[in-house]
């Protein structure tokens, strides 16, 4: 069986062909080595970078952008959105700061991507 997918690692968007005709998974069509890794992971368990925002206690800057790290399973994004919705940011942060560690015991951290000056 073979399947064609679009690589999302970089803007080039290579068309990858995943096939297991020979009994083991083969990835072809990538123009760089990152495509191979992406293709294998897609066949196994698709992972995505999840970015969203978290609430703050300030009215003039009501939201601060965040990313979840590492990547989360595509089929669990809803659950992680629910967990992130429960966060309230009440102090200053810089991009890269961990706002919430080990979200709901999943091993996933919530990291600020924007600066927030609480004053």
């Amino acid at each position: 069986m073979s399947k064609t997918i679009t690589c999302i690692v970089c803007p080039r968007g290579c068309r990858l062909v995943l096939s297991d005709d020979s009994g083991e998974l083969r990835v072809t069509g990538q123009q760089c080595p990152r495509g191979e890794g992406y293709g294998r992971q897609e066949a196994l368990n698709p992972l995505r970078v999840l970015t969203t925002t978290v609430k703050t206690d300030l009215t003039d800057i009501p939201r601060v952008p965040v990313r979840l790290a590492p990547e989360v399973p595509l089929n669990a994004m809803d659950e992680f959105m629910r967990l992130a919705a429960g966060i309230l940011l009440t102090s200053s942060c810089l991009p890269g700061d961990v706002i919430a560690a080990d979200l709901g015991g999943t091993g996933i951290d919530v990291i600020a991507t924007g600066a927030f000056n609480h004053g």
């Binding site: 997918i5 968007g13 995505r48 970015t51 009501p62 939201r63 952008p65 990313r67 991009p95 991507t113």
Partner: protein, 428 residues
């Protein structure tokens, strides 16, 4: 006396930030003007990742990319004026005079060189000929992005997206994650206009249908939008009236193109390119007005911020050289070769090339049709200057080629950039 700078940069988005840094690094005294309170431009609300794979070798989010660019500005002796509007722009004998308004009042400032990094605007419903009532719930993708990401407000529960531009695709995913239903994305053309990877990770990941050759022909509802009529279009892009389908929704989001914002510089008389919507520029990104430079989405709508940064850096560096070094200042007898888009090429930047070339030339262009493989050819009359094979060219993705300076023409007629199909049998 008005304060005078070597270089004034208008706009604090990624292009303007890069221009200010590059100009300062060339030794220029630089002032950056931004109308919003914070630097970063539209990147502030682009919270998704995928920025910077070329510039930084990492997948950053928009705010992270902006933060890195802003930090480079803050580390330099650059005067940054936020919450500052530019009211009037005049060309003077030796540069430019700007009338600015901010909390300190109204005042005039001057610059030897000017970099216009004013970005672009979104096309609205009126500009794609959707007429009728103006109910609430019709907004551009950027407005929806601002509401959700900056203000934490959901603009609708059941959304239709018109146009498959990148911001529309990104918003389809974002709305879905925030709990709204995205009924579908409707694209009038036969191909999506956003990046292929955004079709994959924003629509396919969430089973959001993409309808090609289809558009919205009517908006229903008086106070609040209640639905839209969608239908297939004929070859000329006009909707068939008889086969329209009513799709209920409480929100219509438009992602139907971006228009370079040049209202400030057009009155100065810079030659404009009707294909890009930006000014005609040379490889230094100098417009037809000496000392006036253009970069970023004001010059041409890019699909990658990495290229926006690069164009800002070129404009900033050259603006500084122009201000500091009178020899660099364009002399009346400088020669230019015009570059015209030929078969299969929608537009090409730069529009004119200053010759002789002092280094390799970076050309940016968009093709008109998708192909598995094609050759891009630069020629002057019958003389072929450059050719390169391209895999998977498509109109939605800007193409960049590097033309070596060796053997590049120094005079003569206009150059033409065209695409030639490669027959299948010679491909392998």
């Amino acid at each position: 006396m008005s304060r005078r700078w070597d270089v004034i940069v208008i706009g604090g988005g990624p292009a303007g930030l890069a221009a200010a840094v590059a100009a300062a690094d060339r030794g220029a005294d630089v002032c950056l003007i931004e109308r919003e309170s914070r630097l970063g431009g539209i990147l502030k609300q682009c919270i998704h990742d995928g920025f910077g794979t070329l510039r930084f070798g990492e997948r950053l989010t928009g705010p992270e990319y902006a933060w890195r660019c802003e930090t480079l500005v803050r580390e330099r002796p650059i005067t940054v004026m936020t919450d500052t509007f530019l009211n009037r722009l005049e060309r003077r004998e030796e540069g430019f005079r700007l009338r600015i308004v901010n909390r300190n009042g109204v005042r005039d400032i001057e610059a030897a060189s000017l970099v216009a990094a004013t970005g672009c605007r979104e096309r609205t419903d009126r500009q794609v000929f959707i007429h009728g009532e103006r109910p609430a719930g019709v907004l551009t993708a950027g407005q929806a992005q601002d509401l959700i990401n900056m203000k934490g407000l959901l603009p609708g529960r059941k959304c239709v997206i018109l146009g498959s531009g990148d911001i529309g695709l990104i918003m389809a995913r974002r709305l879905t994650l925030e709990g709204a239903e995205v009924v579908g994305v409707y694209e009038i053309n036969s191909e999506p206009s956003g990046l292929t990877r955004n079709i994959a990770q924003c629509l396919e990941d969430f089973d959001i249908p993409l309808h090609l050759n289809t558009t919205v022909s009517k908006i229903h509802g008086k106070k609040r939008i209640e639905g839209v009529t969608v239908g297939k279009v004929d070859k000329s892009g006009k909707p068939h009236n008889e086969n329209g389908e009513f799709v209920p929704c409480d929100c219509l989001i438009l992602s139907v193109g971006l228009i370079p914002e040049n209202d400030l510089i057009a009155p100065l008389g810079a030659d404009m390119d009707s294909d890009t919507g930006g000014p005609a520029a040379d490889q230094n990104l100098e417009t037809t007005i000496p000392g006036l430079f253009s970069c970023g989405n004001a010059l041409q709508v890019y699909d990658l911020v990495d290229y926006v940064t690069e164009s800002g850096a070129v404009a900033g560096e050259k603006a500084a050289e122009s201000a500091l070094n009178p020899v660099f200042r364009r002399a009346a007898d400088d020669s230019f070769l015009n570059l015209e888009p030929g078969d299969g090429v929608a537009y090409a930047v730069p529009q004119r090339i200053r010759v002789p070339l002092k280094g390799d030339l970076s050309l940016f262009f968009r093709c008109r049709k998708s192909a598995e493989a094609a050759e891009v050819i630069l020629e002057q009359g019958e003389h072929r200057v450059f050719g390169r094979k391209l895999m998977w060219p498509k109109p939605s993705e800007m193409i960049r080629v590097e033309i070596p300076s060796a053997g590049f023409p120094v005079e003569g007629e206009s150059l033409t950039l065209r695409m030639a199909p490669i027959p299948e049998r010679v491909r392998n």
